[in-house]
Symmetry: C4
Subunit: 378 residues, 4 copies
């Protein structure tokens, strides 16, 4: 008797499974521009730091701005819950590994205070930086007006999985078009991984979508719940939605690959997959300036009943400037992200980020470093 299947499965791909093909023309890296635009906000580099408490404090956000990028502040993080968030950070760092998930679960039960949030936003604005603040869908409608009032230039609405339609009986589902209508600043939402959801989110009027469910170093959603799509395929789907939506509406919505990016190579691959920018957590938590001082944890970590991820020791690696711009003596791709991006653009003959969208990419499994010979470097 023949074989029949309940449904068909298609193959998806992650960063380690692809490689970029050099272009038919090459250009010198100095000729490239890495500018990214989200509605009317322009950034020198298409690189954002994730709204994780171990990565982005108000001071860190200011520093990211100086470097040409954007650090997103977690609007429901320690900075909006505690008068002295830095001493709480100390406590988290000092807690032994086996107790830390429970401690994180407890720390994040303290309620968010609007006055603290306002003060943090003002600190960022006083530094002269563009200020972006992140909220969960449950709290976005209630809390984002205060952030914008205090000066925030961009609102990020983020949960593990976000759709244009969410049903709940504990709170009224957030209606993005209403939120966007009520705020005068750009709104970026996520995370999503498929063509259909990205398209519906774009149709609500958002200015950017965050792409990625499951791939981050500090997140174990894919193991715990089984849900997730590898980043290359997720980005290819959401970028297809952006193109179709642009063709229909004339409005260009930024696609930002968020999670799982470790190297300059991963940044290049995100953009070749169609991203307009990238968001990174762990690599910035490794900066000397990061508030976590070598530790990081995700937004799904302190979930009271089903924590997904935990505090991870990421180490302190280098000053932010060196991570972004080098020079470096590291040869594993974890430093000089902008240099790597410009080198990749040069090899593909891309003057701009949108030119790099046109580059070719192949499926090419990661080089295995088994055996002595390979351990020498690849």
């Amino acid at each position: 008797m023949g074989r029949r299947l309940f449904k068909e499965l298609e193959r998806s791909y992650g960063f380690d499974e692809v490689a970029i093909v050099p272009g038919q023309v090459t250009i010198n890296p100095e000729l490239t521009s890495t500018k990214m635009t989200i509605r009317d906000l322009e950034f020198e580099i298409p690189i954002m730091a994730s709204a994780m408490d171990g990565a982005v404090s108000p001071r860190f956000a200011a520093r990211m701005h100086e470097m040409g990028g954007l650090g997103v502040l977690n609007g429901e993080g320690l900075y909006s819950r505690y008068d002295d968030p830095y001493s709480v950070l100390e406590d988290i760092i000092a807690t032994p590994q086996e107790e830390v998930t429970e401690f994180l679960q407890q720390v994040y039960t303290r309620p968010v205070k609007e006055s603290l949030l306002t003060a943090q936003v003002q600190e960022i604005k006083q530094s002269g930086a563009i200020c972006a603040v992140s909220f969960t869908p449950q709290n976005a409608k209630r809390m984002s007006p205060a952030a914008v009032e205090a000066g925030a230039d961009m609102v990020v609405v983020q949960s593990t999985v976000t759709t244009a339609r969410h049903e709940s009986n504990s709170y009224r589902g957030l209606i993005f078009s209403e939120l966007i209508g009520s705020l005068r600043v750009p709104v970026v939402v996520g995370n999503c991984v498929s063509y259909g959801v990205a398209l519906e989110l774009m149709e609500t009027g958002v200015d950017g979508v965050l792409v990625g469910v499951g791939p981050g170093a500090a997140c174990t959603t894919r193991e715990v719940v089984g849900v997730g799509v590898p980043q290359v395929t997720a980005t290819l789907e959401c970028a297809a939605a952006r193109e179709d939506y642009f063709r229909k509406s004339g409005r260009y919505v930024a696609v930002i690959t968020d999670g799982g990016i470790r190297t300059g190579g991963d940044i290049c691959k995100s953009i070749v997959s169609g991203a307009d920018g990238v968001m990174l957590g762990t690599p910035f938590a490794q900066a000397e300036e990061a508030p976590g001082r070598g530790f990081n944890w995700g937004m799904a970590n302190p979930h009271p009943e089903l924590p997904r991820g935990t505090r991870i020791k990421v180490g302190i690696k280098a000053p932010l400037k060196q991570i972004l711009y080098g020079p470096t003596s590291k040869t594993d791709g974890t430093q000089n992200f902008v240099g790597a991006l410009k080198a990749g653009m040069g090899m593909c003959g891309a003057y701009t980020i949108r030119d790099l969208h046109q580059a070719e990419m192949v499926i090419a499994p990661a080089i295995k470093t088994e055996g002595k010979f390979f351990q020498m470097g690849g």
Copy 2:
């Protein structure tokens, strides 16, 4: 000269090779129902504990019922062979690893006694629980009437590989339609892995089929005999049979994925593959209440001449309630199975188990945790 092959091979997939795509709509986990039905028996959660002696004793079956699930008693296990099965359990646990397969081979030569079986079934019924008892095809016809007589609510007929047609000259092959006609309770049979066999089994009148050959942690059938199909593909095939059979007959037969499930993610993937429920062994053998006290062994283990699997040390991890419902501080998916299932249903916009059948899934190889950076959490 051209290439020719004796036969064509199709690709199959296991849990670690797929990931669920979030839905177009999301719902809050509180809105989901995880109910499973097998003919007229209803369960709060679609989760069964395998008929393994290290996992399910009568007491454990009672506890599974309190938690909303079902623990299946091995009708040919220690509990039906020994007056004091608990002291035999002690002996198995105390035997050194290098001698244990031989010891198990010997322990299971003691004949099953109907009176002991009856007593065990009565113990489960007295606790108020739904009682399911498992037999091999060789013994099902002879022994299941006694179990039903004693109060069993469901009979499971299970061997490594089961078909509607088995030929033997040492005993007359079990005719399922006869067995079902002679018993007034639901009958679940297995294991099978293909569309054709599942369909034939359904046509005999069974109420559920168990899916899975070879994948369990305590089973090495695939290594020893080369036979087995990875669980995602096996479930996709058997669920296709259920759909076709339902369309033809109007009768809905439960498909239960059995074996190889380690995490909440695997449970979600089983259901997205078309399963109505799941059966787990090792994760329940790890419960504080499990009779094996941190050890487990399968039904094919004590085979006198060709043992497939052995006693494995699984450890004692947590109370059953925490494994099923959390709360937990574990972030690897091995606790709070029901929370994970409800979270996955929420991310896919599924109100019921049958809604979750409609979710999309992609082929996405497991994230490799090679190198330091990845070891931080994936």
Copy 3:
């Protein structure tokens, strides 16, 4: 500009990448027959021991016959080169690993003596066993008449890669039809891996072909020269040739999968791929009766300039009877090969080896044993 390739590559598969699907009908293992026929020679089990000096001595060949199988004697091995091969075996075993390849290279420079070969064949025949002797293509024409004269029942002509047409200027290429015409016993030749070569070999009149280039544990041809085809695909190709040749000629040529077989599962997979029998080296070198006393080395190992493989320590595992027939307490598939084969035949509803050819097989990558949980048994 589009992509173009110099040639297309097709996918091939090895044992660890496939799994057998149970049949629509199952039968009890006692009902199965494992008989194999090569022209007029019949064997109780379709299992041969490779002509490797560490595996098959005349005494071992006699023992294999008692067990229902066939041990092939290396006609150009130590037994035909030395008056006291057992003391040379001692020396090989005693040589330190770093010097052993050089020592093997030297040991095999001693010329073969016809009188020694004759004595060894007679020893096997006096035990009552079927006697098979193996030669390289260079020496087969010259040496096989003496072996047959002495009583050999079958001649094997074997080199790493064998075709019906070989060109050389140091010796006249062996013409198989001439050799076969001059000998009254069945001739088995190999090794080959493709449809075309197998078909041409069959057309020369051979009675069996050996399938496999590169896969054995004691062989590194694939690493050194890059040549080799995984065993499942190689067997599927050669079995297709057997079918086509049988349809055309009415003569059935045995296909024997040779190399890379470690478990009962691999034996079952070979036969489902179309093999009529299998040949194993290392698993028999692990028998208590094997002359290598826990060591083994291949025929391509002592090559004077390009050795491919080396002496490997395989260990002494069990008596031959236990390896073939159990009973065993090993659960990794390395013992009770015949029990495993009969179990597999039962699960597939196959009464005979040729029935097992009809079973279905899927591509299913080996279960990875990463992480603690999996290490418990798969």
Copy 4:
């Protein structure tokens, strides 16, 4: 809603993912010829040593010629920058690993001197060897006339990624047709990996193209920048370009696979993929005669801001003659490259390198050496 992707990705393959299928005819290795031709230069073996300072000094180039191959001198390496390059080599070797990338970055800031380059070329020519010198595209036009004047027989123009069209505002892009017109010797350029770029380069009049971006042991371009194509697919594309260009123009351009080759098997696979020759770095840096004395580093390593690769300890393995011609007792494919190539040609029935282009190859993932049994040799 259906799935849509921004772009399609095709699969590519590396050495470890393919295997060569033996031919329908086999020949004795003595009958094979391994000759390679680049325009009017003929070499006994199709093997070149990379222009890496740790591998090729003038003395090493002379030795490669004696062995029938070609050692390419780095025209912008230590030998053209320092009066006493050997003492600088000593310093590099003596520098601790953690400081060496910085030290390399500094060492390579010293300017190239034409007089030193001339002296090195003359040293090679005085040995009677064919002399090839390598330059980067930036310096090729300025420096190659001096090299040719001094006696160089071939010019190599090499950078990580090279195209026929490069745009820069710091220097005028090199126009290959001009360079070729101005030099009377063959010009080989690279590296490239795709059909389109290889074809355009051939149309400029070059005599050979180097194939390979990212795969070398001493290079981490693929990790740092994400750019690279596995060598089998890259060679298949560039060889397709050579065939199409030859059909159109009647001129045959040599395709040389450069990077990632570790074994004789990899050399055979390169040629079956369509290469006319191969270039190796690390395996020659392991020769007793290599100037790096057990260390090697690539041309992209000392990049001042984005080093890709580092100094790697490769060890001193054997004299060059043994690496190329054996005899050897090594069985991992790292010695007797020519013996392996001739063995592979014999197994495929190939009298010449171009005959070997016709061999068949299959996709066959590397045998994993997990578990004890496999560790014995494959």
